[in-house]
Subunit: 154 residues, 2 copies
């Protein structure tokens, strides 16, 4: 685009950084998905299992889980349906709120997570964290914290 209006374009460095982010993210996610395929998971599935594994009683309400991952409820319903079919997650209805549903990590789900985690984390290190200085990586954290904060939920 040429600059014929008063619009605030990105300057050259910003432009370069923005595109590096887009391309790098695409490549990184593809690589991580690739490496997880051996376990029958994708990054998205993995993140779901991790969130459950960390929650009290290894379970979370569907809406809570969806919010933490910024997914639509519908998408989560479908994904959890598949994870449930694979016996990695179990759904139980919520006593206190009859509309509610708990998604709970099964023992098999936890076991698979234990298997997949070392290789996945190693992938995150090798293809991201260990590539750059601690300061630069911390900056990434600050930047995307600010983004999340700014955009907020929903």
């Amino acid at each position: 685009m040429t600059t014929t209006t008063g619009a605030r374009w990105l300057n050259a460095e910003q432009q370069v950084a923005w595109r590096a982010y887009l391309l790098g993210t695409a490549r990184l996610m593809a690589k991580l998905d690739d490496d997880l395929r051996e376990f029958g998971l994708g990054v998205n599935d993995y993140e779901i299992l991790v969130r459950l594994s960390e929650a009290p009683d290894r379970r979370l309400r569907m809406a809570e889980l969806a919010d933490r991952l910024h997914q639509s409820r519908s998408r989560l319903t479908h994904t959890v349906g598949r994870l449930e079919a694979a016996q990695l997650v179990r759904r139980t209805s919520c006593k206190s709120d009859k509309r509610g549903v708990w998604a709970e990590l099964t023992d098999a789900g936890f076991a698979l997570l234990e298997q997949a985690a070392p290789s996945h984390v190693e992938g995150v290190r090798e293809n991201l964290v260990d590539l750059v200085s601690a300061d630069d990586f911390a900056a990434v954290g600050r930047v995307f914290d600010a983004v999340s904060e700014h955009i907020g939920q929903r």
Copy 2:
């Protein structure tokens, strides 16, 4: 995950930064897609149009375009098919390599890009670039350059 093996986990700050990146990226892309919907585009379509608009004669070979965006050829074929149906892109066969196909931006495609660009770029600024220091944003560029570099093409 608890640390019972010799695996190299992420430390607390790295963990936090990694998750901020995942969540922030999800929110950011959703927001940008949202804002582009008014023009009938998504971030992915937009990037395709931009790459074409910058290329000599506003056209690129399919494989070249796919590589620059790190997309599968198949995905690009489908997407360009839709963009072509919308008259934003035109496909022509390549003289010098009969297997080849040029994807070329039409005038309508260029016009739409001109319309969408100011608001899109403003969105990138408002939800990312302008939220953080120039140094931090530059760090993002360095980090994902390193990622791209490390993972390489394919």
